[in-house]
């Protein structure tokens, strides 16, 4: 046993072959893994498969039938997100380093695994002929295997040597990550995806012809990748300049971004200029003035006496005009004034605070005006089926936007359910219990059929927006129950300590209780987000075209210009991999965040 000096070998001995029982278990599971792996690879490489169904229909998968000439909107949305991501990475770059040896070690792990995978891959697989008989066909010839194996093994060996060689050079961790992201983009230039085409009778011909789809997206992705790097350097530059206001602006931009991008995808508003001049601009000015006056005088002694009356007054006004035929925008803005009156005293306590609150107010009412005018005006984007999004972009919109809306809603519901005011508690408990006791699919039917009845007159939402509304309620209720668990885990002492230093209930909740409660439930919240992401595929039932429906019903029925009939298996495997990649990456990333957040606990 002394011969085993290598640490890796020792790990294998200690963990896999430490006793008779574990040796048997290791051998059995190892054998089963190899069988499963060979089966999967055989399935993927089998000539029965038609992966061109996916490469050819990539555009369908991404944006479905969003108009070709408007597809730049989708690209631009991704671009805006990339630029913001780059700036964020650059600005919040902690300067964490990765040594050369670590990188080489990582490469060695990856490539040694790869060479094992190539080594164990099957050389032939079973196919079914037209007459139902089965036959074995070769999928990887021994020449091909060697051609793959040699470069991979060389890289593995080189990286192993480099990881042992003492090189003191270190690299910025974020830059290494960005570099790795470039590899798939580079692959787009190097590898052309071989596809199979068909003759008029439907027989396969010319086994390696290149279809254009894989290459046309190479250029936009390359541009996006370049933008990512450029904005990364901009972010680093801003970090060096120590521009502190970005610390608040960047998270705020991330909050606003989905809303903005969504409206960008949804609408090409046909805006009537006279309505904007007559209604929107005067309305904006009046409400900015109201906000300015409130923020300016809110901390004034004389004014604070009347604050509660004023808030009640505005609230009653909102309630009253709810039944009048006044533009929906005015109703929303009046209600915002009530919120401002409630929030302002604790936020506008200094000159700096007043300035910031005023900016937030102006931005908020500008965005509200823009969104409501936009949603009320006809759109220039018209798609054949009426649902303007489909495929991955629909999944993303439902997942991201659903979470963005339902999370704050869930927080409010949880706070309401634990509130000491009986009326609020009963209403919130009622909402949560009603929403949770009805299946999601039922709510989706509610969205597609009934929700229009409950909308204010003159406002008609697209099906996708109605789905988002019920999703906000549905996942909001689940978020609320998770967060309530977190709220209950906070000891009574924390409330007492906050009271004893003179905090008001608002400060107590948002500075002391919620930060701790949310931290305690991060793992369950991540679970809820992943569930919401996967549940979004249920919208296929009410007639929306999500990836699953495209893969199982749309593509397998195509026969013109290319015949893809009967490619369900290929498509569904692809979709499964897509979901797996995103869910796995997401849960891995958040595990790291959890660790960081745990720092303050104990």
């Amino acid at each position: 046993m002394r011969l085993i000096k290598n640490t890796q070998l020792r790990w294998v001995r200690d963990n896999l072959f430490s006793s008779m029982g574990s040796t048997i278990l290791s051998l059995i599971t190892g054998y089963m893994t190899i069988v499963a792996y060979r089966g999967t690879v055989g399935f993927i490489l089998s000539p029965m498969r038609q992966w061109s169904a996916i490469t050819y229909n990539m555009q369908l998968y991404m944006i479905f039938n969003y108009m070709e000439e408007e597809s730049w909107r989708a690209w631009a949305s991704v671009g805006v997100a990339f630029v913001l991501a780059g700036i964020t990475l650059g600005y919040w770059n902690t300067g964490e380093k990765k040594s050369f040896n670590q990188i080489a070690g990582g490469l060695f792990k990856t490539f040694s695994t790869l060479s094992l995978l190539v080594l164990f891959s099957p050389s032939e697989t079973e196919i079914m002929n037209n007459d139902g008989s089965r036959a074995m066909v070769e999928v990887i010839s021994s020449n091909q295997r060697i051609n793959f194996l040699i470069p991979i093994a060389v890289v593995a060996l080189l990286s192993f040597l480099l990881s042992r060689y003492s090189i003191t050079r270190v690299f910025n961790k974020t830059k290494v990550l960005l570099f790795y992201l470039g590899l798939p983009v580079a692959l787009g230039w190097i590898i052309k995806i071989p596809t199979i085409t068909f003759d008029a009778a439907g027989a396969r011909i010319k086994p390696d012809l290149f279809l254009p789809v894989a290459t046309t997206t190479t250029i936009p992705w390359t541009i996006l990748y370049g933008a990512l790097w450029a904005s990364f350097f901009v972010g680093q530059f801003l970090q060096k300049k120590e521009i502190k206001s970005l610390k608040r602006t960047i998270p705020l931009s991330w909050l606003v971004l989905p809303l903005y991008l969504f409206s960008w995808l949804y609408k090409k508003p046909v805006i009537e200029l006279n309505k904007v001049l007559m209604n929107d601009i005067p309305g904006f000015l009046i409400f900015s003035l109201i906000g300015f006056l409130i923020i300016r005088y809110i901390t004034d002694e004389k004014f604070s006496k009347y604050r509660n009356y004023l808030a009640t007054g505005f609230f009653l006004a909102t309630a009253a005009i709810l039944f009048l035929r006044i533009p929906f925008l005015i109703k929303v803005l009046t209600f915002s004034v009530v919120l401002l009156l409630l929030v302002a005293p604790s936020l506008a306590n200094s000159k700096e605070g007043k300035r910031q609150l005023l900016i937030v107010w102006l931005v908020a009412i500008a965005v509200l005006t823009f969104l409501l005018r936009g949603s009320g005006s006809p759109t220039g984007i018209i798609t054949p089926t009426g649902s303007f999004l489909g495929g991955f972009s629909l999944t993303w919109v439902l997942a991201i936007f659903g979470t963005y809306v339902s999370f704050p809603f869930g927080v409010l519901l949880a706070l309401g359910r634990t509130s000491s005011l009986p009326l609020i508690r009963i209403i919130c408990t009622g909402v949560i219990e009603i929403v949770r006791s009805v299946p999601y699919i039922t709510w989706l039917f509610f969205a597609s059929v009934m929700l229009t009845v409950f909308m204010p007159e003159g406002i008609e939402f697209n099906l996708i927006i109605r789905v988002l509304i019920v999703t906000a309620f549905f996942s909001g209720a689940y978020f609320a129950e998770n967060i309530r668990g977190g709220l209950q885990s906070i000891s009574k002492g924390q409330y007492e300590a906050a009271n004893a230093i003179g905090m008001n209930p608002f400060q107590r909740i948002f500075l002391i209780i919620l930060p701790q409660a949310l931290r305690a439930v991060v793992p369950t919240l991540v679970g809820s987000v992943i569930t919401a992401f996967k549940d979004s595929s249920l919208v296929a039932i009410i007639g929306l075209f999500d990836v699953l429906r495209i893969g199982s019903a749309v593509i397998p029925t195509q026969s013109n210009p290319v015949n893809f009939v009967g490619t369900q298996l290929d498509n569904i495997l692809f979709i499964a991999i897509f979901y797996w990649i995103f869910c796995f990456t997401f849960s891995r990333r958040t595990m790291k965040i959890e660790k960081k957040l745990g720092l303050g606990e104990r």
Binding site: N349, Q494, E496, A500, I501, G502, M503, L511, Q516, E601
Partner: protein, 249 residues
């Protein structure tokens, strides 16, 4: 002690009564506490001493009687409660620091949000207070990384950051190891000598003998004996006090 009698009363309670369900926790507590006085409250567990000081800043609500703190009567009026809470600092048995904030954030939180100070002012004051309680080097740590004694000293600094007129201590050393008790008591002694009005619920009789002006003995919700420390320990008036002292000394 003579000098104190000239000062005006800062806390006045008259016939304070409180029930938890059927159980009567406080049964007619009346006392006058003068400015700059240091009061120690002791008594067996369940005697209502913690409940009493928690009534002073309305962590518990009293059901009968009057409590007047610095001329403000404690009623259901939220404004009065806020006014009193910002003048009364409190230190808890279980520290109750905010675990998600660093030491310096714990101390500056209330001055910034309640007293509306600027961050720089609040941080300067917090650094000064941390030096006063003897742990300036721990400012950037989280409470979970400190020992019990250090946490309690941070809690004292947090209460002091609001510049209170009165400090309430609810068994501040009961959750500490014997070795750490001394470091907390030293801070409290220094605070008493600087002229702070203090009400301390404690079983540390050494502290009572050395520092305080008056000792109050509670039993079954009643104020059984009120005496200066010398007489309290050497010739107590009531039999109940004698029994209590014989058991703990």
């Amino acid at each position: 002690m003579e000098s104190n009698s000239n000062n005006k009363s800062i806390i006045v309670t008259r016939n304070v009564k409180k029930w938890f369900g059927d159980f009567q926790a406080l049964d007619g507590i009346s006392m006058d506490i003068k400015e700059k006085e240091v009061i120690v409250i002791c008594g067996p567990s369940g005697s209502g001493k913690s409940t009493f000081i928690r009534c002073i800043n309305r962590l518990e609500e009293h059901q009968e009687g009057d409590i007047i703190v610095d001329g403000i009567e404690l009623t259901n009026d939220l404004k009065n409660i806020d006014a009193i809470r910002s003048e009364v600092g409190m230190v808890f048995q279980s520290f109750n620091l905010f675990p998600h904030l660093t030491v310096i954030q714990n101390i500056t939180l209330a001055p910034i949000w309640v007293r509306k100070k600027t961050r720089t002012d609040a941080e300067a004051k917090a650094t000064e207070l941390l030096e006063r309680v003897g742990i300036p080097e721990q400012a950037e740590k989280f409470p979970g990384q400190l020992s019990g004694g250090q946490q309690q000293r941070v809690a004292i600094a947090r209460a002091l950051a609001m510049e209170p007129k009165i400090m309430l201590f609810d068994e501040p050393t009961s959750a500490l190891d014997p070795e750490m008790i001394k470091e907390v008591l030293d801070v409290m002694k220094e605070l008493a000598q600087s002229g702070m009005t203090m009400i301390v619920v404690t079983h540390e009789m050494g502290f009572a003998k050395e520092v305080c002006d008056r000792v109050m003995f509670f039993d079954e919700g009643k104020l059984v004996e009120e005496n200066n420390p010398e007489d309290f320990f050497n010739n107590p008036k009531s039999d109940r006090t004698k029994l209590f002292l014989s058991q703990i000394l």
